[in-house]
Amino acid sequence: MAILDRFDTPGRLEELSEDDRRAWSRRVAGMFEGLTPDFPQFYDPTVEDTPAGLTPATIAWPAFPARVIREKGQGAASWELADGSRDVQDEYCEWSVERGEEGKITRITFTTEVPEYWEHVAKNDPDLLLELYHRFVDPRVEPDDLFDGEEYVPRNRWNTSTEGRLAHFVQGSNSLFAAITLVAQATILRERDNGTPVTDRQELVVCGGLGEPFRNSDPQIAEIVNDNAGLGHEVTLLDPVGLYLDSLLSAGMETRDDADAAEFWRIERGTPDHAVRASFAVPEERGYVVGDIKVDGLPITRGAQVADKVRIRIGAVVKPGDHQLVRRRCVE
């Protein structure tokens, strides 16, 4: 791989000008620069070499928030809660739902787009921002809806709800910076007060101050990074750095015409290998809607039922190293 020329855009999106793509790379590099001095086993692939032939690690998890299940159990109560607010959709995936006249779901839109990218578009190409909102969110969006003076408002009136068409992440823990920081911080090995190593992933998250121990995503990322750091290796994120919609696990979905529901999953942004936005909707000519499909025997009445079958992923690269292992006590 050698040294990476630049960080590509999430999903390898090509809508930015060449200058703006380079600016995006510098923006991401800035996030790395702020972390690498403090975390010697975390590296910037645009600065340091990555040997050829390494197999990237894919870390995958369900889009449905594990914290909601822990609080509400599995089933209708948790679906209702997860569909009720973007603020609980904290697994690096958010979704919104559109319904038809009878209240049946007609389309569910999923995104893993990070707010930093949209802020970047807003700063460098406001016309493109408006165009993206018109194309993917709603044609009625006005520039004033998106800006407070010169400042882009990520949590604007068109991008706060779980209804309609969302644009990008707004949940507080869902951001590119949060993911990069997590990977960097997770390279720190921890030990208890009695000197025994911390290996349990929930304990690691609590001990390292790495966030919420009961999410699907962060504890798993942290554990895998920490395990490799424990072998003396160095870790970074795979380019294009971002969170991705890995797959819709469509088995078990029952359609009226026995069609494979996988056909109804449409990637709207990103490449097939790096999807950052996708929707689930039945083509009109089939004569039925998402609400007529059953998941595991139950009609789809909530977007959360489909989110439960959406797999998210992030890619990491582990570079063999021989760092001396030092364990630190838990953060208070």
């Binding site: 109560a77 304990e203 009961f214 078990g252 595991d296």
Partner: protein, 530 residues
């Protein structure tokens, strides 16, 4: 009163799976034999014509019937791959890993019996993969394989014998349903002919998953370091297995089976379904989402517990729409104290022993998904009425599994053929209410009769009963005495599971000093010891 055999009792002589292995020794290599325990006295080598007639799955069609007889799991995969075109769904393969010790790192000088085994799936589609097989190692050891029969429906169950490449066809899912083959051979574990994944839902204790992965350092001990199956474990692990394989596979057979029943093409009667509703012949395992370590050392304030320990929430709430239970929590300090009180430890009953619980706290059996799914499908197809199902399951509702009271009601279920309409449900309720026991307080028949008297608008009164119980157990969970009682109750249920053939390792559950004894939950949230 019906005098049919009691549920889950095999028609004698019971023929466990080990019989199949024992009697299959010395079979001809490079051949497929039929040996359906209960039906066949001994293995019978199938001719090409017989095999073609009897085996309608793609594994048989693409491999065995073409004269290819793999001797291990890796060869199975290779044989299928060679037989299909590059765009065939059977080119889609995924690997999963399970083992009761997958989260235990190697300990110098201690051999840990992790019981590591692979599950490989081949194919994809709305009903899940067509072929699924398991093995302890990709390159050696026996292979157990199920493959969907495209001709007659259901899964065909196969296995290899020892180190040979002799294959045994041990039956189809439908053989699990009726005598003389039910409960025998593979259907000793696969009670209703389904794909089996005990730890079916989050956090999938024992599986490599999104919540707990297999500790990488164990692979060197297990002679699997760098193996392609390990390097290519399915993203998401058990999460993917549940959503894309296990649940679709279970639903696929449930639908096929009940379609056959209502269309008059099945040998089973609706009574067989009631056995799944009223008794506990198999279970899934549920647990807290909190790791026992983080709970025991007090790093989190509270430990969530599976609500299915307290009530059959899948059936009562998920299917019948009754009020769902609150999410049960116990203070971590209370949980930790119970671990000490009951000397909870994990052991493989050989060299490995460690104080504390399983990786995730409080692993307990719950109603099997296959039973709940059968109930849902039976209601949707009009085989059972909602009212009957609700009244049956509300009898002894504080005991979601292993209820002797509900099991007793099975005596009133006729063994008649399926009839359209509510006649079957009505006949059951009539029989229970007309029984002599229906007038005797304290009997399940009396309890059922009182519930039945609520009429079609049963939701409000049933919700009130459940609500009172939910309040009671929630209050007791905040106390040491209350949770200790639930630890004892949990151990009684685990003891039942330890006797089931699905228990393959002593590390399925932690051990305690709690005496083995029958215990039941009461509606006031207290636990009664026999």
């Amino acid at each position: 009163m019906n005098s049919a055999v009691t549920p889950s009792t095999a028609v004698p002589p019971h023929r466990p799976c080990v019989d199949l292995e024992r009697q299959s020794e010395g079979l001809d290599d490079a051949a497929v034999h039929r040996f359906i325990l209960g039906s066949d006295e001994r293995p019978h080598k199938l001719s090409q014509q017989e095999a073609t007639q009897q085996l309608g799955d793609r594994f048989a069609q693409l491999v065995l019937l073409r004269g290819v007889f793999p001797s291990n799991a890796g060869e199975v995969l290779a044989a299928i791959e060679q037989a299909v075109s590059p765009d065939d769904p059977l080119r889609v393969r995924e690997f999963f890993l399970v083992g009761e010790g997958t989260q235990i790192a190697p300990i110098p000088g201690v051999s840990v019996k992790r019981n590591l085994r692979f599950l490989a799936t081949v194919g994809r589609g709305p009903g899940g993969p067509d072929i699924v097989f398991s093995a302890f190692h990709p390159e050696h050891g026996t292979v157990e394989l199920i493959a969907w029969d495209l001709a007659v429906g259901g899964f065909n169950f196969y296995r290899t014998v020892g180190a040979s490449n002799a294959w045994v066809f041990a039956g189809n899912s439908r053989h699990a349903l009726t005598s003389p083959t039910r409960d025998n051979g593979p259907f000793e574990s696969h009670k209703n002919g389904h794909f089996l994944m005990k730890e079916l839902r989050l956090p999938w204790v024992n599986w490599d998953s999104t919540t707990a992965r297999a500790v990488p350092s164990i692979f060197a001990e297990e002679d699997l370091l760098g193996h392609p199956w390990v390097a290519n474990l399915a993203p998401g692990g058990a999460y993917t297995l549940e959503k894309d394989v296990a649940v679709p596979a279970i639903r696929r057979w449930t639908e096929t089976r009940l379609e056959a029943l209502v269309s008059g093409n099945s040998e089973e009667t609706p009574r067989r379904l009631l056995e799944q509703v009223l008794t506990t012949s198999t279970v899934n395992l549920a647990s807290s989402n909190t790791s026992s370590v983080v709970a025991a050392i007090g790093k989190v304030e509270k430990v969530d517990l599976p609500e299915s320990f307290f009530v059959d929430s899948a059936a009562l709430s998920g299917i019948l729409g009754l009020v769902p239970p609150p999410r049960p929590f116990v203070p971590s300090s209370v949980y930790a104290e119970s671990l000490r009180t009951f000397e909870v430890r994990l052991t493989d009953e050989d060299q490995f022993r460690r104080p504390g619980d399983t990786h995730f706290a409080f692993v307990v059996p719950e109603r099997a998904f296959e039973d709940a799914d059968t109930l849902r499908e039976a209601i949707e197809r009009g085989i059972l009425s909602r009212r009957l199902a609700a009244c049956l399951l509300m009898v002894d509702f504080p005991n979601p599994i292993f209820s002797q009271k509900r099991q007793r009601l099975l005596e009133h279920v006729p063994d008649d053929a399926f009839r359209q309409g509510e006649a079957f449900s009505q006949s059951i309720s009539d029989a229970i209410r007309a029984s002599a026991a229906a007038t005797q307080p304290g009997t399940p028949e009396h309890e059922f009769t009182q519930l039945w008297d609520a009429g079609e608008d049963f939701k409000a009164p049933f919700d009130a009963l459940l609500q009172g119980y939910y309040t009671a157990f929630t209050e007791r969970l905040a106390t040491q005495e209350g949770f200790d009682d639930y630890m004892r109750l949990a151990e009684s249920r685990r003891d039942r599971v330890r006797e089931m053939p699905i228990t393959e390792s002593p590390m399925l559950f932690a051990r305690t000093n709690i005496p083995s004894r029958e215990r039941t939950m009461l509606a006031d949230g207290t636990v009664e010891e026999a």
